[in-house]
């Protein structure tokens, strides 16, 4: 629908020079993306199949690699769930609540986007590491990994739910309340269905980020094989020890997961803006 309308508007006699400049810009975009993103990715996929299908399978199914991948997926899922609850809650407080310093709290949410992840890891180890001033030492445990991943993924759900809550009219909720609905029912039956696509796309982005994170976890997790070694760290260690095809095989697996998650986010985004597109 949108595409039809747009093409109708553009078809007002486009002169040759315009067409040449749009071909030029398209060429630039394709060339840039090929050189920066597509070619390296292609080289990775190519290298992963150097040892054949069995070599690929051996590399992917090494006990250490499997343990790392399992841990990565479980940690990312836990972190995504915690974000679903607390991200929504924070967005709710930022939109519906009123208190002094709210704009400051709102600004602070973006800090994990602005802060280098290695700094995040270092400050976490300062508070929750061996010389913790509050007496909590989680260094080298899975709790430490969860904390680091929660730090870097904090903004995703908040920032996808917040705009939806701002747009959401409170009239429906008031109507439900005046008809005797309890707060829990109002949230579950009116608010939640509206914010769900936002929550899900935020959760998916947080999950993807958690799967690939290295900077925040590398300092605090201790990187013990089979216990606290995540896939990204596993790949990094393979590279350092010169095992190119082993690193490439697991990396291709991570790449495939990223693609699937991006497709999911795209589908959710279309779901959320369905009414806009139809207009």
């Amino acid at each position: 629908m949108v595409r039809l309308a747009a093409s109708a508007a553009v078809s007002v006699a486009v002169p040759a020079r315009e067409r040449a400049s749009s071909a030029l810009s398209l060429g630039f975009v394709t060339g840039f993306l090929s050189l920066i993103v597509a070619l390296p990715i292609a080289a990775l996929v190519w290298a992963s199949r150097e040892d054949g299908a069995s070599g690929f399978w051996d590399a992917v199914s090494s006990p250490e690699g499997v343990a790392a991948l399992k841990l990565t997926l479980v940690m990312a899922a836990v972190v995504a769930l915690v974000n679903a609850v607390f991200g929504t809650l924070i967005a709710w407080v930022l939109v519906r609540d009123r208190f002094r310093g709210k704009s400051l709290v709102n600004a602070v949410i973006d800090l994990p986007f602005a802060l280098p992840t290695i700094v995040a890891g270092l400050v976490l180890v300062a508070l929750y590491g061996p010389s913790s001033p509050v007496g909590v030492n989680v260094y080298g445990t899975r709790t430490a990994i969860a904390l680091a991943l929660l730090f870097v993924t904090l903004p995703f759900v908040v920032r996808t739910v917040q705009p939806v809550l701002i747009e959401l009219d409170t009239e429906m909720e008031e109507a439900a309340r005046s008809l005797g609905a309890r707060e829990a029912a109002v949230f579950r039956r009116i608010v939640l269905p509206n914010i769900l696509p936002g929550v899900l796309s935020g959760v998916t982005l947080a999950f993807a980020r958690a799967i690939g994170e290295i900077g925040a976890v590398v300092i605090i997790s201790g990187n013990l094989p089979y216990r606290t070694e995540l896939s990204s760290v596993f790949v990094y260690n393979r590279i350092q020890s010169g095992d190119r095809s082993g690193a490439a095989a697991v990396a291709v697996l991570l790449l495939a997961i990223s693609f699937v998650l991006l497709l999911a986010v795209g589908a959710l985004r279309r779901l959320a803006t369905r009414h806009d597109a139809a207009a």
Binding site: S7, V12, I36, A107, L111, A114, L115, L122, V123
Partner: protein
């Protein structure tokens, strides 16, 4: 009702303190724990100064490259008609979901020994891996999406009526871009540039794979934090971190100042 909302507020702020604000406050305390002098010594050490310089040089190349790309790409995706738009979108979004280590490894395999581009540069004595070029490439890769992702929705929103009008009145494509399109997307571009800058200054994983970590040569500020930490030079690691955190706060303040204007535009 007020009690309940007070409870929610308390939980939300409590969570932020445990996850974010508590740890962050530690960087100030730990940096100045042993006095200002020691912190300054760590920051002004030759290795640190070089690391900051290298970080800034990489950002100074990667940010403009991604700004030009982001604007052109957004224009092509929103205004253009071509096959494979979905593919372009997918590649632009990919760095958001991909592990930086995988990005680094990809470049490593493309430009390293046995890679497709290895001979191309090695024959001319140009070093890509373990040198500035690969670090720049890695940084550009991870920060590709930000400008494009900010500009696309703004371009959609403003529509192309004004551009059409300018066009009908005889403006060239170039004039239309500078006088009509760019002024209306400028805040989105600035916002994207701020995000790109933050990502470039803070990149760790991708650069860690391709750089080789040579102090005074290929060590950026974030890599130096890790190296100092691993060599038990904690005060040094905290001091460098404090400078990086200060940059992040500047970025954050800029974002906060820009955002309302962007929404008005």
């Amino acid at each position: 009702m007020p009690l309940r909302s007070l409870g929610l507020r308390g939980v939300a702020i409590g969570y932020l303190v445990v996850i974010l604000l508590g740890p962050l406050s530690m960087v100030f305390w730990r940096t100045f724990e042993h006095g200002f002098g020691q912190a300054w010594e760590a920051i002004s050490a030759p290795g640190s100064v070089h690391a900051f310089e290298l970080t800034l040089i990489i950002a100074a190349i990667a940010v403009p490259a991604n700004t030009v790309f982001g604007v052109v790409c957004a224009l092509a995706v929103v205004r253009g008609r071509f096959r494979g738009k979905g593919l372009v979108n997918a590649f632009v979004d990919l760095p958001l979901a991909l592990s930086p280590v995988v990005v680094g490894l990809s470049l490593f395999l493309l430009y390293g020994r046995g890679g497709w581009f290895y001979g191309l540069f090695a024959d001319h004595g140009i070093q890509i891996l373990f040198a500035l070029p690969s670090m720049v490439l890695a940084t550009i890769f991870v920060s590709v999406p930000f400008v494009a992702r900010e500009v696309v929705p703004t371009l959609r929103e403003i529509g192309n009526e004004q551009e059409q009008a300018a066009h009908t009145l005889g403006a060239s494509g170039w004039q239309t871009f500078w006088r009509i399109t760019l002024p209306s997307i400028r805040w989105a571009v600035v916002y994207g540039v701020v995000l790109t800058t933050a990502r470039c200054l803070g990149e760790f994983g991708a650069v860690a794979v391709v750089s080789g970590h040579v102090e005074g040569k290929t060590e950026t500020a974030t890599l130096r934090v890790q190296d100092l930490y691993e060599n038990f030079n904690l005060p040094g690691a905290y001091a460098i971190s404090l400078v990086l955190a200060a940059m992040a706060v500047i970025v954050l303040v800029t974002m906060t100042v820009i955002r309302p204007r962007e929404e008005i535009a």
